[in-house]
Structure formats: C-alpha cells, structure tokens
Symmetry: C2
Subunit: 340 residues, 2 copies
Amino acid sequence: MVTFCAGGTGTPKLLSGAAEVFDPHEATVVGNTGDDVELGGHLVCPDLDTVLYERGGWLDTDTWWGVAGDTTQTHDELLALADAAGVEAEPRYLPDERQTAGREIARWRRFSAVGEFMHIGDRDRAVHLTRTSLLDEGHTLTEATRTLADAFDLDVDLLPMSDDPVATIVHTASGPMHFQEFWVGRGGEPAIESVEFRGADGDDPSDTALTGAAPTDAVLDALTAPVVIGPSNPITSIGPMLALDGVREALESTTVVAVSPFVEDTVFSGPADDLMAAEGYEPSTAGVAAAYPFADGFVLDDADGTDLDRPVVRTDTEMDDEADAARVAAAVNEALEAAR
Amino acid sequence: MVTFCAGGTGTPKLLSGAAEVFDPHEATVVGNTGDDVELGGHLVCPDLDTVLYERGGWLDTDTWWGVAGDTTQTHDELLALADAAGVEAEPRYLPDERQTAGREIARWRRFSAVGEFMHIGDRDRAVHLTRTSLLDEGHTLTEATRTLADAFDLDVDLLPMSDDPVATIVHTASGPMHFQEFWVGRGGEPAIESVEFRGADGDDPSDTALTGAAPTDAVLDALTAPVVIGPSNPITSIGPMLALDGVREALESTTVVAVSPFVEDTVFSGPADDLMAAEGYEPSTAGVAAAYPFADGFVLDDADGTDLDRPVVRTDTEMDDEADAARVAAAVNEALEAAR
C-alpha cells in the first residue's frame, strides 16, 4: 500500500506513469480540496477532478485540467449573456452572508456563474453537477467522490482530504481572495502577503467557525501507509492538508518521500515560488525540505545540487510523458526504501 | 397597455403573432412560476424561458420549450455518469430538510441533477445558471428576469408572477409530487387527486410557511391594464397566479379576456383536462369559464358552440404559425372591445 498526496498537476503527472512501480489497486490518492470553489452553485474540485480525469482517460494532458476535446457551449453562452446584459465578466464573489449559507462544504469560496470566470467544459460540468447533487442528496464529499470514481472505473482509491470546508484564501495588498480568484481570475496578481486555510487554521483562532477541519477517517487510515508527496505546490496543494488536525502527526509517524517541485530555486510550473516566499520559506528545494520537516527522503532533479539532511535520490524529474513519470516513480520507490 | 398571463405554450404562441394587434413595447407578460424547479442547484423557470426564448428568437418552435438547435453535452453526460455509477436516472427529489433550506425562491421543488430527469440543453443551462447566480448575488427573481430580458433584447416586459416561492404540487394515489415530476418525469401519471400551490394556498392553512405568496408590485400594477389570458392550462399555468394574494381581486377590477384552450371538451395540448377534472371543473370551455369568473369575454374556436353568459368572439383558435396567432390576437382585441 502507498498513499499519494496530490494537488492538481505534479502528483497526477507522477501517477500517470507510476503503475509499473506502485500497483494502482494498492494506491490511495488524497486530493487537496482547498482549491475547490462553488461556481454558480456547483462544487468544482479541480485537484480531485484532475486525478479522476487522468486515471479515467478523460484528461486534457496539454493543460492538465479539464476534459480532452470538451465543448464549452454553456460557458461560452454565460460569457455572451453577461456581455449582452452589460454585466462584468470577472470573479464575482457572492455576498458575505451567502458564504456561510447553503452547503457547508462550499463555505468561503462561493462565486456567481454570471460571466463564469473559470473555464468549465460541458462534460466537465456534468461531473460538477453530479458531485453537487450527490452532496445535496445527503452524501459526504468522500462518498460523492467514490460514486464518481466508480463511474470513471478508477484503479486508485481517490479520497478528498476532508469532508469539512477548507478554503485557501490568499491575502494580498488588494485584500483577501480565494486562491482561484487570485490564480485563474487575476493571473497570479497582486502580490501575496500570506495564505490562510480558512476552516482549518483560521486567522482568528478564537473563531471556531474558522478552525477544526479534520481529515476523514479514510484519510487518516491511508496516512498509516508510506506516503508520497509528488512535485506539488507545498503551500496551496499540500498546505491545506497539513493544516488539518492530525495530518502532520500522521506524517511524522509514517515514511514520507517528497519529490521537489523545484530544481534548486527554479520551479517547474505554477505560483509555488511566490507563495513559499510569502509564507516565509525559501522558494527552492531547501525551502520545500523546511516545509516538510516530517519527510524522510527526497527525490531531486539530477541538476539539483541542494544538500539536504535526509536521504536523497536523484533523477531527471521533468515529466512530459508516462515514461518520464515512470522514471520518477522508480526514484520515489528507491527513496522510500532508503528512508524506511 | 395590455397584460398577458402566460403559461408555457398557449400564451407564448399567441404572443408570437400578436405584434400587429398589441404593440409589444406596450405589453407586459406575467409568467407562471409554479412549474419552476431547482435542478442540480439551478432554478429552471420553464414558462418564463419560453417567453424569453420566443421573443428573443431562440425558441425551439417544434417543442415550444428549449433552445432551437441546442446541444446537450452536459445533459447526456449526466445520464452517462449516472448509468456508469449504477444510479437510477429518475426524478430524484432532494431530502425533505433540503426543500426548505437554501434559496427561498426554490422551496419544495428541489431535484438532484444525478441522471437529470429534465432535458436541459447547454445554452439553455447558461440561462438557468445566470438566473440562479443573479439570485445568489442578491437580486430578486423579478430583477434577474429583467437582466435576462435585457440580454435577450426583449420587446415585451416580462415579469415572474411572484418573488415568493410557489410550487405546483400534484397529489396522486402515489403521493404528492411536483408538477414537473408528474408531467416530465412520469409522463402525466398516476391519476391526479388534487392540485396544491404550495407557498400560496397550502393544504394546511395553519402553516403560514405554506401560504402568503404575493404577486409583486409590478404584477399588481400590470394587472390594472386590460388582461389577456391565452389558451393556457387554467389549473397549472394560470392557477398558481390566481392563488396569489390579491390577484383574483385585481382581475375582478379590470377587463379580462380569455382564450379557451378547449374546443368544447377537446383540449389542444397538455394535461389540462385531467387537472381540471381533479379540481372539480368540467374539462371543457364551460369549465374554463367557471374557473375564470372574473373574465369579461372569451375567444372560442369556430367549432366551439359552448353557450357562455359573457361576450364571445369566435375564430379558428388552432395556432400553428404566426399568421394563426395574429388571427387569434385580432379576435382577442375584438373581445376586449366587446367586454369593456
């Protein structure tokens, strides 16, 4: 058994070629849900969906999100209607009182679909609608994800990190905003001051509504197996999991290997560098190691000379296809052996 | 000024050819909302949408609902996902406690989108999503409808009958069910025992949650003009309006002409006959006249020899194209003159 902690790109890429090394039927994937948003009333879980779509053969592997060849009839019409009605197509965060009403799992990340700011395909939307309706029928996110995994005939066991709401809020000079507004809606601007995992860590510890999100029992059980943290963003992909009660302790008690998303101080993709700097970590492999004190071993790129105090296996960590992923997976396995 | 009270087919058909007789810019259309459902979290307003789409040039005039040439990528995938997950594709009414949670306007008609039981096109869905998001942004249904009407560049003024929730519930031998479950989901079965307009008339008058829905001020104002009731279903299209506080009184105070949806005892389309019988009216033109005691005149088909106690204008009331509608509109105008 092995458990992967996954964000939206690095770890799903690793999974795409890991089957020769890690039997998917013996693998659990714990997906970040801090990036999730409720958009026009649908719960969109980008990181869970990338795993669903990748393992289910639907994924657009040019972008590593969305469904290959998907149409965008509804999305296009949402933009056309907003334009025709003279309404701004920008991230439209719902009024504050709506953020804590309705489905609890969607707290603090509710956006209007008017001029839909995220690019949602038509088949993709059917997945969000099915998930949301399963929640409304009374199922947990874990159960809804299992039903979707059944529909996609998934080989791995896919678990959301929590059935409680956690919203990754980026604090900037222009005020707080959900990570998806910052990243998708505003193209990674303005400058980040700090990152909050609302529901888990809270800015105000006296406000219990903003704290106490827990991993599910299924996640805690999965974290008793050896754990692989793929080359994901340590702050917004893995950070929300680490903010959950008991996850750090679970990781300290098992063998953990992490693949650095950096080559020394150069990040492969995404906003990891700015986010790490804002949270007080050096935006580099050394910073990743500092952010993961529970990690027992690392996989670094051949070109990464960072000197770490824990076992390191080096390989070419750039992953453009399944063969690349298989090579990194083999290095991960070697690091797990060395770190045990 | 003239005001049309509209369900989903008969009155929109009449409107399609009425422009020569009634200037659309001087016309208000009050749409029934008792048929509305919340499906997968979207508020679907079939009767308002038929007017939006007909006046906006989008309507599929083969079916008189939905968007001409619309794709169904999301709908098809919802069915495929339900099938792949082994979940029944049938009307899936949400649990009782969900029926009175969330958006108040959507009470008592909340369905899951799992295996989506209504046929929602992709462009059509963008309209439902825009409307629902406008509601969630804090607008009333009247305001959201105006924004959509702007987007569709509507010539008539389109008003929902109420900003309060009213749900048309059909009581049957198999228990109560929303009208859309009865009509779309079960093909007009089982036999109807009675019809309830939940939110307006309530089965239990002591439960104030089930009573008190009011027309908007805009509707009450529109009902001071001469009123045309097209050949709509008197029970489920016009009945919800009549159940609103003050609407009968308003209709008694103005000139009202109704077009019979029957030729004597033969209905043009839809379930009007069974519904009228269940509510104690003869399923015929005579029954329509009994259901509309406030009507001051009627338009009947040439072949309809019903003897009524109020002025009658006869024409061929079958409407297959705009010329037919223009002919009926002229008869309506004549009846308004006779009834004034």
